[in-house]
C-alpha cells in the first residue's frame, strides 16, 4: 500500500508550527510539547478517527524529545514520513519511535556544532566588526547573512526528512559541515581581533592628544591581557569590571 499523502497546506502548517518547537520547553519532557504542537495538523489529517488520532498524539506525548531547534525540522519531516506509512498500514509504531530516538542526539550535535558554535559566532563577529564601518546597516547584514543559511537549512532539512525518512542521514553525510564550521570559527576570531583593534584606535585617535595615545595603548594592553585570562577561564564579568575600574582610576588620575 502506498503511504497516505498529506496536503500541501498541512505540510506548510506543520513546518510553520515547527518554528515554535521550543515554546513549551520544560525540564520534564524538554521539546515534546513543541513536537506535538507541530505534528497535530498532520496527525489530524492522517487519522480521521479520534481514537487513532489520540493514539498517535500519545505516542509522541509520552516520549521525551530534544534536539537542536533548526535540525528538528528534519526529524519532524521524518516523523511525517513514518506516520504516513503507519497510517496506511505499511509500518508499525516502533519505526517512528526508533527514527526519533536514533536521530535526535546526532542531529542535535550537528546543529549545535554548525549553527550555535560556528555560524552564529562568525556572523555575529563579522557584523559587529562592520559597525564602525557601516554603522546600523550591520544589523540587516547580520540578519540577512544568518537567515539565508538558517531558513534554507530548515526548509531543506524538512523536505529531506519528509522525502527520505531514515535515508536523510546519508544525504547529510555528504555535506562537509565540520570543515565549514572550522573556517567559520576562524572568521569569528579574525573579526573579533580586528574589531578590538579598530575600537581601541578609533576612540584613541578621536582625542588627538597624549591621553588618546595612552587610551589606545591601554586598551591594546588590556585586550592582550584579557585574551590571556580568557584562555585560563577567568570569569568575563571579573575582567569587564576590572578594566572598567582601571579606566575610572585612569580618568580620575588624569584630572
Amino acid at each position: 500500500m502506498s503511504p497516505r499523502p498529506l496536503s500541501a497546506s498541512t505540510l506548510w502548517r506543520v513546518f510553520g508550527r515547527s518554528l515554535f518547537i521550543q515554546a513549551g520547553f520544560n525540564t520534564e519532557s524538554l521539546q515534546t510539547l513543541g513536537l506535538v504542537y507541530a505534528l497535530e495538523p498532520a496527525l489530524k489529517e492522517l487519522y480521521p478517527s479520534p481514537d487513532a488520532e489520540q493514539a498517535a498524539l500519545q505516542r509522541h506525548l509520552t516520549t521525551t524529545f530534544n534536539t537542536h531547534p533548526y535540525v528538528s525540522a528534519a526529524i519532524v519531516g521524518g516523523i511525517l514520513f513514518h506516520e504516513q506509512r503507519l497510517a496506511s498500514g505499511d509500518e508499525g509504531p516502533e519505526a517512528v519511535a526508533k527514527f526519533k530516538s536514533t536521530l535526535m542526539g546526532p542531529l542535535a550535535a550537528l546543529g549545535d556544532g554548525f549553527f550555535w558554535l560556528s555560524l552564529r559566532p562568525a556572523v555575529g563577529a563579522l557584523s559587529a566588526a562592520l559597525v564602525p564601518v557601516i554603522s546600523a546597516w550591520a544589523v540587516p547584514v547580520y540578519l540577512l547573512l544568518y537567515n539565508l543559511v538558517h531558513f534554507t537549512a530548515r526548509g531543506r532539512l524538512f523536505t529531506l526528512g519528509l522525502k527520505y525518512g531514515d535515508g536523510l542521514v546519508q544525504r547529510l553525510e555528504a555535506v562537509r559541515v565540520k570543515q565549514y564550521g572550522e573556517r567559520l570559527r576562524q572568521l569569528a576570531a579574525a573579526c573579533a581581533g580586528g574589531l578590538g583593534a579598530s575600537i581601541a584606535l578609533s576612540f584613541g585617535l578621536q582625542q588627538r592628544d597624549l591621553a588618546g595615545l595612552e587610551l589606545t595603548l591601554g586598551c591594546a594592553a588590556a585586550g592582550a591581557f584579557a585574551a590571556f585570562l580568557a584562555e585560563r577561564r577567568v570569569s568575563p564579568y571579573i575582567m569587564l569590571y576590572a578594566i572598567a575600574a582601571a579606566a575610572m582610576v585612569a580618568g580620575l588620575l588624569s584630572t
Binding site: 515554535f20 521550543q22 489530524k44 479520534p50 569569528a188
Partner: protein, 237 residues
C-alpha cells in the same frame, strides 16, 4: 521627564525578544547587536543601542545552550543596558554618550546571569503544561493538548518585558547623575567603553573556539591597526 510610552515600548520589545530568542523563530533578532540596535531605534537613539549591543554581542559570542542547560542570557542585558543608556540620553536632551553606555553596561551585565536563573525557573514551571496536554489528549481534546505548547510563552514574555521596561525607567531616573558625577569619573566611564569593548573582543576570540584563534586574532588586529593608522595619518596631512 519620563516618557512612559518609551518604557512600555521597551517592555513589549523586551518580551518579544525573549520569545524570539527562546520560543519562536530564533532568527537572531534577539541577539545583542540586533536587539540592542532595535531598542535604540525605539528610543530614538540607534547609535547608543548599537554600541551597547556590540559589547554584549562580543561578550556572549561563545555562549551556547546545549541540551537542557542554559548559557547566560545575552538578550536581557543588551536590551536593558541599551534602554537605560538611550533613556539617559533622552532625559538629558542629547544622544547617549560613551560614559552612559559604560554605566549601563556595568549595571546590567550581571542580568545575563539573572536571565539564566529566570529561564531555568520558568523551565521548571512549564512542566505543568505537559500534564495538562496529557489530560487533554485523554479527553480527546487534541487542539487544547497541542496549544499547551504556546501557553508556556506568556511567563517569558511578561517577566523579561517587565525587566526591560524597568531598565528604561531606571535610565530616566538616573539621568541627573550626569550632573553630579565628578568629571574625572565621567572621563573614566567614557574611557571604560573602548576598554570594555576590547576586553569583550578578547573574550569573543576565546569564545570562537577556533584552532589557532590567538594567532588569527593578533594578525587581524595588527592589519586593522596599520590600515586605520595610515588612513588617519593621511587625513591629518
Amino acid at each position: 521627564m519620563v516618557v512612559w510610552w518609551h518604557a512600555l515600548l521597551t517592555a513589549l520589545w523586551g518580551g518579544l525578544m525573549a520569545l524570539e530568542r527562546r520560543a519562536f523563530l530564533q532568527a537572531m533578532i534577539s541577539r545583542p547587536l540586533v536587539a540592542g540596535a532595535g531598542t535604540g531605534f525605539l528610543l530614538d537613539d540607534v547609535q547608543t543601542g548599537l554600541y551597547v549591543g556590540v559589547v554584549f554581542e562580543l561578550l556572549h559570542l561563545g555562549g551556547v545552550s546545549l541540551g537542557g542547560s542554559h548559557a547566560h542570557h545575552e538578550t536581557l542585558p543588551a536590551i536593558a543596558a541599551a534602554a537605560m543608556a538611550s533613556a539617559m540620553g533622552n532625559a538629558t536632551g542629547s544622544d547617549g554618550t560613551p560614559a552612559m553606555w559604560s554605566l549601563s553596561i556595568l549595571i546590567f551585565a550581571p542580568s545575563g546571569w539573572l536571565g539564566r536563573r529566570l529561564e531555568t525557573r520558568l523551565d521548571l514551571r512549564a512542566r505543568k503544561y505537559v500534564g495538562r496536554a496529557r489530560d487533554a489528549t485523554n479527553l480527546q481534546e487534541f487542539r487544547r493538548a497541542a496549544r499547551q505548547n504556546l501557553r508556556a510563552m506568556w511567563p517569558q514574555f511578561v517577566f523579561y518585558g517587565v525587566l526591560s521596561g524597568f531598565a528604561c525607567l531606571l535610565g530616566y531616573a538616573a539621568a541627573p547623575l550626569e550632573q553630579v558625577i565628578p568629571l574625572g569619573v565621567l572621563r573614566g566611564l567614557a574611557w571604560a567603553y573602548p576598554a570594555m569593548s576590547v576586553v569583550a573582543a578578547a573574550i569573543a576570540v576565546q569564545g570562537s573556539r577556533a584552532s589557532g584563534r590567538s594567532l588569527i586574532a593578533s594578525v587581524s588586529a595588527v592589519v586593522v591597526s596599520v590600515v586605520a593608522f595610515v588612513t588617519w595619518y593621511r587625513s591629518t596631512l
